[in-house]
């Protein structure tokens, strides 16, 4: 199994940039705790598996760019999005 660096790295970077912009608004009645992000990651894992090795890659049986993007979003939220 060989993981291609390009889609993984740049998917993570784009997701990270977007994740840094997620901020919980204290004035809002709707807040998203850590558990909601866990659910989103699980759904994203299922979606990546359903999408398959996109686009025409054979490294993993799932869309590695999609998975890297959601990991990047969560990482960006945890590190900067407070």
């Amino acid at each position: 199994m060989l993981l291609y660096i390009g889609p993984t790295l740049f998917g993570f970077l784009m997701g990270f940039i977007l994740g840094t912009r997620i901020k919980n608004n204290p004035e809002s009645k709707i807040n998203f705790p850590i558990s909601s992000y866990l659910v989103v990651v699980l759904v994203a894992l299922f979606m990546a598996w359903q999408i398959g090795p996109f686009p025409y890659y054979t490294d993993l049986p799932l869309a590695s760019g999609f998975l890297a993007a959601i990991i990047g979003i969560v990482a960006g939220k945890i590190i900067f999005g407070r």
């Binding site: 790295l9 784009m14 912009r21 997620i22 608004n25 759904v43 890659y57 993007a69 959601i70 979003i73």
Partner: protein, 160 residues
């Protein structure tokens, strides 16, 4: 907006954004690319902005963030083009692929995109276009929503 929408839309917009990123990443070999993926990411943001409004939106695209992303996208695109001009004599020459054998191997390795297709600078250009488009379309919607807010305030002042 209803509470059900407010609970559903933010997680859904995260997944839409991931699909947009995937579209950008596959732009050099599949339908899609920077504009389409950027529009999908902006669609995720707009989804949130419409449901939560600008004040309560969990995705906070500030003016400085949008200015930085727009500038990074445009400048990196130009610099990649200028690198082609400097090393090969042609603006936006694909240094990573080097079909005409104009550049040394180490320059080709620098601009090579690390995946099995080896598309050179095309995926990088897609990424930069994606950044510009996601910010541009989001900025249009933010501006429209702020205009609407100002107009509503003016109307309420006139009524009073």
């Amino acid at each position: 907006m209803s509470t059900i929408l407010k609970i559903f839309v933010f997680p859904a917009s995260l997944l839409i954004m991931c699909l947009g990123i995937l579209t950008i990443l596959g732009g050099h070999i599949t339908p899609g690319g920077g504009f389409q993926g950027g529009a999908m990411i902006a669609g995720g943001f707009i989804f949130c902005a419409v449901v939560y409004g600008l004040k309560e939106n969990p995705l906070n695209f500030s003016h400085s963030f949008m200015a930085a992303m727009e500038s990074i996208g445009a400048l990196t695109y130009i610099f990649i083009g200028l690198a082609g001009l400097v090393f090969s004599g042609f603006f936006l020459y694909n240094l990573g692929v080097d079909l005409n054998n104009l550049v040394p191997a180490f320059i080709q390795n620098i601009f090579d995109y690390p995946d099995p297709i080896h598309a050179g600078i095309i995926p990088y250009l897609n990424l930069m276009v994606g950044l510009k488009v996601l910010v541009g379309l989001s900025a249009v919607v933010i501006a429209f929503m702020q205009f609407n807010h100002v107009r509503e305030n003016d109307d309420s002042d006139q009524d009073a």
